[in-house]
Symmetry: C2
Subunit: 243 residues, 2 copies
Amino acid sequence: MLTSSENEETFLATYNKREFDAPLMTVDPVLFTYHEGLLKVLLVKRSNYPDKGLWGLPGGFIDQDNDQTLEQTALRKLKEKTGVSPPYLEQLYTVGNAKRDKRSWSITICYTALIAHQICEAQISTVIDAKWIMLDDVSNMTLAFDHSHIINTARERLKQKALYSIVPAYALPETFTLPELQHLHEALLGKSIQKKSFRRRIDQAELLIDTGERRSMGSGRPAVLYRMKKDSGKYTFVRNLEN
Amino acid sequence: MLTSSENEETFLATYNKREFDAPLMTVDPVLFTYHEGLLKVLLVKRSNYPDKGLWGLPGGFIDQDNDQTLEQTALRKLKEKTGVSPPYLEQLYTVGNAKRDKRSWSITICYTALIAHQICEAQISTVIDAKWIMLDDVSNMTLAFDHSHIINTARERLKQKALYSIVPAYALPETFTLPELQHLHEALLGKSIQKKSFRRRIDQAELLIDTGERRSMGSGRPAVLYRMKKDSGKYTFVRNLEN
DNA sequence: CAAATAGTGTCTGTTAGACACTATATG
DNA sequence: CATATAGTGTCTAACAGACACTATTTG
C-alpha cells in the first residue's frame, strides 16, 4: 500500500508506481470508410505474439513521453498506417478483464474513426501489413484478441448514429452527393430509407452547403455535390429514422 | 521492445510486462441518487496523497486477483462505501492524459451508477468518509483531480437519457409514482415537462407495472405506485422530449 | 365546501413514411 | 424516343406540446 508521508511533496518524491502490478493497456481505433458501395474497416497483421500473424485493429501502447492524451495515441497509431489524421475520432468504450489477453489482465480503450477512402488509399497500398477489409467479411475471419467483438460494437454504435445524425458523412470525401450519403446510411442500417424523409430532415437542419458542382453517375440526372458545414456531425435530429 | 521468440508459448513464458512503464490506472464510478427533490452524488474524502483531504469520486485501483472485469472493480468500490450493488451501472467514458495526476500519466475508466437513496442510507451514515452531496453544491467545491469535470459529464449524459428513456428511474426506490419520476426528470433537465406528454409515452411503451398500491402526499389524490418492467431502462423512445 | 395533488381529453404542430410525380442526364 | 438517376409534392400516421378539464384525497 501507499507509504504514509508528511506532505504531498515528500509523497510524490518517494512514490513508486511499480509497487503496483499494472494491467496491460492499449488503445485500439476502429477506422471505417465507405468505398464503391461497401463499408470497410482498417486491419493490420500482427507481427508479434500473442496472436502473431492474425489480423487485428491498428492499435498499440501509449507512448507516455510523446502522447499527451489518449486521443493522441489513437491518432498516432492511425497515422502510422494511413499517413493522415481522420476527420472524425470519438471514444467508443473501454474493455478490460482478466481473460482477453493471454499475458495478463488487459485493458483497451477503443475509438471509432471515419475517413474518406481516397485520402489514405495511396499510403495504405504501400504498407503491406495493413488493408481495408469489407465489414461483411470480418464476421468470417478470426481476428486477434476480442477485436471482432469491438468492431461489431463500433458498427452498432455507428448504425445508431445513422438514425439521428449525419456523422457517417465523415467516411465520405469532402464533397459528396445526397444519394451517396443515403446509400452509406442504408448500408449501415441494412435497409432502405425513404429518399424524401432522408433529404427533408437534412434540408431543414441546413447541415450541408451546395458547392454549385454536380456529379453524374454516367447515365441519368447528375446529383448536386455538397460539403458538410462545420459541426454538422454534432447535430442530432429530434426524431429518429425507423430502425 | 518485445524480444523475438520462436513460438507463442516461449513468448508468454519470458514476457515481462514491467519492461514497459505503465500509466496509473483507476476506475471511478459516479453514483447518483434522488432524494427529497434533489439530485445527489456520492463523494468520499481522500485519505492519501495526492489531493489528500479533498473530496472525490469513490474509485480506486483494479484488484487483478479479485476483479475479473472493470465493472467488478466499479461495483467493488461502490459496495465498500454503500454496502450494496446499484441496479444501474454503465460505462461513461475514459479519460487519460499526462497531466491529470501529479504522479504520472494517468487513466481512469468512469462509470455512471444509479441507486435509491433508502437502499444505502443506513450504511453510508456509518461511514464517516463518504456522503451524499447535492449536485448543485458540487460546482462550488474543489474536488480531487478532474472529478468535477467527470461528474459534469456524467450529469450531462444522464440528462440526455432523460430525454429519450426512463433510465433515471433507477435512482428511485423499486416502487415509485409517476409524479416522482417526472420531478426527477425535470430536475435533470432543469425545466418542467408537460405532464401529459411524459405519461403518454410511458403508457404507450408499457414500461411500468401498476402495483395496485397508492401513495399519498398527505393532501390531494394519492398517486399509483409503479414498478419498472425488466429491461425498461434499455427502451428508447423514437422521439425526444424538448431539450 | 376549498385546496391540493393525480390523472385525462383533445386540439395543434412537427416530422417521418409512403409513393406518385416531375426533372435532367445519356444514348 | 427509352432508360436511368436525381429530386419534389402531398397525403397520412405517429407523437410531443399546450392547456383545460375531471378525479380523488384531506381538512
